[in-house]
Structure formats: structure tokens, C-alpha cells
Amino acid sequence: MAQRLSLSARRARIAWAFLAPAVLVLLAVAAYPLFRTFQLSLFRANLLDYPLRPEWVGLANYAYMVRDLYWWTSVKNTVIFTVASVGLETVLGLGIALLVNARFPLRGAMRTAMLIPWAIPTVVSAQMWRWMYNDVYGVVNDLLLRAHLIAKPLAWLADPHLVLPAIIAVDVWKTTPFMALLLLAGLQSIPEELYEASRVDGASGAQQFWFITLPLLVPALLVALIFRTLDALRVFDVIYVMSGVNPSTMSMSVYARQQLVDFGDLGYGSALSTGIFFIIALFVVLYLSVLRVEVD
């Protein structure tokens, strides 16, 4: 009797022992910084004071955040950026994945070459695109003019209607390969026999895609979508390099960085960071509830 109790107790203890490193690491790298950020968001503190002189203000930073139009503009920009870029990347990535999943000569080389945009650091590629988008000497305008698609050069990075789409295009260019790679892995896990059986039953290519490929690809698709959505929601580099802190384009992270770094406003910047955390958490909850439905 005593032996059995101690057995289950021992198993629990062993389980905790195995979990402990992971829990400790999570506490150190995720929970503690998050807690500190939240704590700071309740103070008014300026990085430029030497020494620091934090002052307790309660929820005042949050009260201002709710009324701060720039914050809501940045939330809007981020959501537009996320929906547009992740949507386009998924469609294009799926197309490319289907293409490179087919058998053809030099398939290996093709799959490697496809990853190049993903491999270039964003800061570098964003700067490269900045030059290509230049209104006077940029190659983008040059090509479009030669092709007679536009009548006069466009100011890609200065026109408030063009700059966000231009940045989304860069993100799509960069991240589609990553999406394609994830979906390719999903495609390769679909058993070949299903296609053989459907061919015997006389299914067309389109029917195969809609009734076999797509349903079986859903788990991989959802994982890829979660990855990309969470990544896109905290976008910083491509937007900051291409247009700086500009209300037409700034994302939540760009705005929070301005408050934290440029203004040294630790309190309000931390409140914004906490806001970003909750918005991303909201998306995670949404996705997870969708996923659970799928698993059931």
C-alpha cells in the first residue's frame, strides 16, 4: 500500500524533475521580462534621467494608450500588414509548394534557389528595396516605365497610399519561400496511395486538389499560418528601414520603440509593449480554438 502511494508520488516527482529545466528557462526568459515590463508600465520613468527616477502612476499610461490615436493607427497598420502579407504569402506559397512538389529535373537546385530571399537578413534586403523603390533612380520605376505600365515615376516610399503596399510587397517577396517550405513538408506527408485510388475512381486534378490535398494539408497550413501571423504582428525591421516612424506605415513595434528608445519613455513604452503582448495573445487564442476544432 505504502509502496504504491510512494510510487505515484515518485512518478510525479520524476515528472517535475524532467519539467523543471523547461519551466525554469521559461520563467527566466519569458515570464520575468514580461513581469518586469508590466511593472514598468505602472511608472513614469525616463531613460534620460541620470540616475533613473521612477515615479508610480498606476494605470495612467494605459488610460492614455486607450485615447492615443497614433497607437490605434499603428494597430490598424499592423493588422492590415498582417492580413495582407500572410494572405498573399499563403496563396503564393501554396502555389510554389505544389509546383516544386512535382517531379522535374533540377528540383533540388530549384528548392534551394527559392530560399534565397528568406536567407538575406531583412535589414539588408529592406535597404536594397529602398534603393530599388527610389523615385528618381530606382529600378522599379525604370522597369515599369519601360513596360509602359505607368506613365510617370511613382514615389513608392513617399506617397501615403503606396508606401504600405510597397512594404507588404517586400515582405511577401521575402517570406513566401518560408511559407512554401512549410507547405511542401505538409504536401510530402500526404500518402501517394490516396491519389492512386482517386485516379482509379476517375477523379479530376481539381477534384484531387479540393478533396485530398487541401483537407490533408490543413494541419500544416494552420501551423504555417500561426507562425507567420505571430511573426507579422510584431513586424519591425522592414517597416523601420523602409519608412522610419511614419504614421502611414508604423507598426505597433515601431511605435513602441519610438517611445522607449527615441523618447526614453520607459513607462509608456512598456505599457505599449504590454498592449502588443495582449493583442498577439488574442490571435493565439483565436488560432488555438480553431485548431482544437480541427483536431476534434
Binding site: 534620460l48 541620470y50 528618381v136 519610438q258
Partner: protein, 427 residues
């Protein structure tokens, strides 16, 4: 005469022992962070290395971001972390109030006589609560660059005196030049949403008699009809005499268009003068500079935003004495003279404006002396640590007008409200 090889080797070794070794043994390494606009980095490096050779110390020269805003962000991080990595910082004229607490009081290190050799206004700009946090290295003021050859070609006797004249001249030259060069524009300036736009827009507003955003007493004055008129004027340039892309231009973007010969006028700092006259420049000898135009209204006046850079010593520096010595060398008469002649950096010592060598290399320095001395400071002294927020709110508002997203009146009244919040009970 044949010199034996062993003799050369021995000579080299002796030279090494005599010069290199003792210097390295007693010197320390001082790190200086310099700007990278134009040839700024090279000039800084040459000057700092000359000091190193003279004193037997070593220098490490770090480059910093081109954008002033990014540079300040980097410095803030380093200083707030208490880093002793950098000993000497090159700081913008608007930063003493922002970063002052992180720098040593130079009054404790230098002879008071040295202070009197600089422009008093610049020493004042570097003094925060009685502490001298930096020594002025070069001063700056916004000026108008114009193409002398094109003005002549289109029958203009001289550069424009008012903004209206500038617009008319730019439009005429642009229309004519477009026939042979479709990339040609009338006027380029700094329109990207960053500190540079604050400088440009302050010049427009001040030239209309619209004040300096926040007045000397700290009152927010920017929401006035004259300021609105100034912004409307600038808005009317975009896509007529200025490329639509100007709204994403910083100094070097504007210079890129100008120096390639694709613009008739440019607003920029004096550093572009030497670069435009460098041997490989397509517009070498074809341009001149003058004071920026004024408004055509009765109270219109010429305005130039005061810029310029100072050298400050970090309070976390481990070699404060050597760092101060480097600052004194770089801001000294001879080094400033070298920089004025070869880089057209404006000296911060009045004596250099009477120096014949300087005036021969950059005649405009004598001609525009009054402009430089009377340049309009940005409201950094009043707004202190909040200057950055004030400037960011200002350039964002101006940018939204230039983009056509808001009318000048609407943007300025919203700006005034934002500034009130930033100000709070006091700056």
C-alpha cells in the same frame, strides 16, 4: 649609391624602437564616435589620428548612423547603460539638454580663456544648468544652393530673394531642362519624417514670421495663421517643383539628386559645398550658395536653422583627461581651419572667419557670416529632455500636411494639443 639591405632593416628597426614602442607603452586608447554624413567620418578620423600621433595615444574611431534621430537613439542606449565604450561623443546642438547629465562638466578641465575663443551663443547652447557639457566643433545653418549656370541660361540675374521667386524660377528652369533631362527637378530639400524636416519646416515658418514652435518662455506658439501659410507654400512645391519622393528624402538623398545635376535649387547644410566642388562632381564650379528666401509678406525675413555639432566627454569614460585633450585638439584653431578649408565645415571660432586661407577656399563663409551668427535655434533649450517628443510631434504634423493627409490649419491645431500634453505642467 648602393645601400646594403641589412642597413635598411636596421634603420627601420631603430625607427620603430624610437617612435613606435615608447608611444605605445605610455598611451591610452581613446574612442570617439563620429558622424558619417558626407565625408564626416574621414575628416574626423584624420583629425583624431593627428592628435594621437602628437600625444602618443591611440584613437579608435567609431562610425555612427547617418540619421540624426537614429544616432541619438544609439547614444541614449549606450549612455543609459553606463557604457564606457565611447569616451568622446559628437553631439547635435539640440542634445545638450537631452543628454547633458551623461557628460562631464568641461569647466573643471579647461582654462576659462579657451571658452572665450568660441562664439558665445554656441557656448551658451552647450551650457546646461551651469555645466559646460560640450565644446562646439562646427556650426551649421540651412542655406540655399543654386546653379549659377542654369540661372544665367534662363535669364535670371541672381538667386531668388523670396519663396515666390524661388518657385517661379524653379518652375521655369525645370520646364526648360525637362526637354533634355526628364529626371530634372526644380528644388530638393529634406522632407522625410525625421529631425531634418523639423529644421526645414522651422525655416519656412520663421521666414513667414510664424515663430519657433515653442517660444523662449516655453509657450506653445505654433498654431498660428503665418505658420499655416508657410506649410501651405511647402505643400504646393511637392510634385510641382519638388519630386514627390522628397517626402522620403534626408540630406544625402537631396544631395544625390542635386550633385548629379538633376536639380536647380537645394536646401542643405554647408557640408555639401565642398562635396559639390570635388573633382569628380558633375556640377563642380557651376553653383553657389546664399541665404534661404524669405516670405513675400511684409514681416517676411530670411531664416536659417541653427545646426552644428559639439564634442562631449562621457562621464563613464575611463580616460577623461585624454578625452578632453582630444576634444581641445579637434575644436582647436588649426584643426578647425583644416576642416573649414577642405570640408567647408563652419568654424565655431570667430577668428577663423577672418582667416584669408579659409575665405579663399570658401568665400561664402565671409559673405554669409551674418546668417550663421543669427541662425534660428530649434526650441531645445526651452523643452529640454522633451525636445525629442516636441520635434517628433512637429515633423509628423508637417509631414501629414505635405502628404495631403491633413490641412495645415487642422494639423497645426492638433499639433498644439499634442504639445500641450507633452508639456504637461512644465517642460
Amino acid at each position: 649609391m648602393q645601400v646594403p639591405k641589412w642597413f635598411k632593416v636596421a634603420l627601420a628597426a631603430a625607427g620603430f624602437l624610437a617612435l613606435g614602442v615608447p608611444a605605445a607603452a605610455q598611451g591610452v586608447t581613446v574612442t570617439i564616435s563620429c558622424g558619417s554624413v558626407g565625408k564626416g567620418y574621414n575628416f574626423c578620423k584624420e583629425g583624431a589620428e593627428a592628435w594621437a600621433k602628437r600625444t602618443g595615444n591611440k584613437v579608435r574611431v567609431l562610425a555612427s548612423p547617418k540619421s540624426t534621430t537614429d544616432r541619438l537613439a544609439l547614444y541614449q542606449q549606450q549612455l543609459a547603460a553606463g557604457s564606457s565604450e565611447v569616451d568622446v561623443y559628437m553631439i547635435d546642438v539640440i542634445w545638450p539638454g537631452i543628454l547633458g547629465e551623461f557628460f562631464v562638466d568641461l569647466n573643471q578641465y579647461i582654462d576659462p580663456k579657451v571658452k572665450s575663443e568660441f562664439f558665445p551663443a554656441l557656448i551658451k547652447a552647450n551650457t546646461v544648468d551651469g555645466r559646460l557639457v560640450g565644446l562646439p566643433w562646427f556650426t551649421d545653418a540651412g542655406i540655399l544652393y543654386y546653379r549659377t549656370d542654369l540661372l544665367k541660361k534662363y535669364g535670371f540675374a541672381g538667386p531668388p530673394k523670396t519663396w515666390d521667386e524661388l518657385k517661379a524660377m524653379a518652375a521655369k528652369i525645370q520646364a526648360g531642362e525637362r526637354k533634355s533631362n526628364p529626371k530634372f527637378w526644380g528644388f530638393v530639400w529634406q522632407g522625410a519624417p525625421y529631425e531634418g524636416l523639423t529644421c526645414d519646416a522651422l525655416e519656412w515658418i520663421y521666414s513667414y514670421g510664424g515663430g519657433t514652435i515653442v517660444d523662449a518662455q516655453g509657450n506653445i506658439t505654433v498654431n498660428n495663421p503665418k505658420a499655416a501659410a508657410a506649410l501651405k507654400m511647402a505643400k504646393s512645391w511637392v510634385n510641382t517643383i519638388s519630386p514627390p519622393g522628397v517626402l522620403a528624402y534626408m540630406e544625402e538623398d537631396a544631395r544625390g539628386v542635386w550633385q548629379a545635376g538633376n536639380a536647380a535649387f537645394m536646401r542643405n547644410w554647408p557640408y555639401a559645398y565642398a562635396l559639390g566642388n570635388s573633382p569628380e562632381s558633375p556640377i563642380k564650379g557651376k553653383f553657389d550658395v546664399t541665404v534661404l528666401p524669405k516670405a513675400s509678406t511684409p514681416d517676411g525675413r530670411h531664416a536659417a536653422t541653427l545646426g552644428g555639432w559639439q564634442l562631449a566627454v562621457s562621464r563613464f569614460s575611463k580616460h577623461k583627461k585624454e578625452a578632453v585633450s582630444l576634444v581641445l585638439y579637434l575644436t582647436g584653431f588649426n584643426e578647425q581651419k583644416r576642416r573649414a578649408i577642405y570640408g567647408t565645415y563652419l568654424p565655431t571660432r570667430p577668428a577663423l572667419y577672418q582667416d584669408p586661407d579659409v575665405l579663399a577656399a570658401a568665400p561664402f563663409m565671409g559673405r554669409l557670416y551674418d546668417v550663421f551668427v543669427n541662425a534660428v535655434p530649434r526650441p531645445s533649450a526651452q523643452t529640454k529632455k522633451k525636445y525629442n517628443q516636441v520635434s517628433s510631434a512637429f515633423w509628423t504634423a508637417v509631414h501629414s500636411v505635405l502628404e495631403g493627409k491633413a490641412t495645415a490649419e487642422m494639423a497645426l491645431s492638433q499639433l498644439a494639443m499634442r504639445l500641450e500634453r507633452i508639456k504637461g505642467p512644465g517642460w
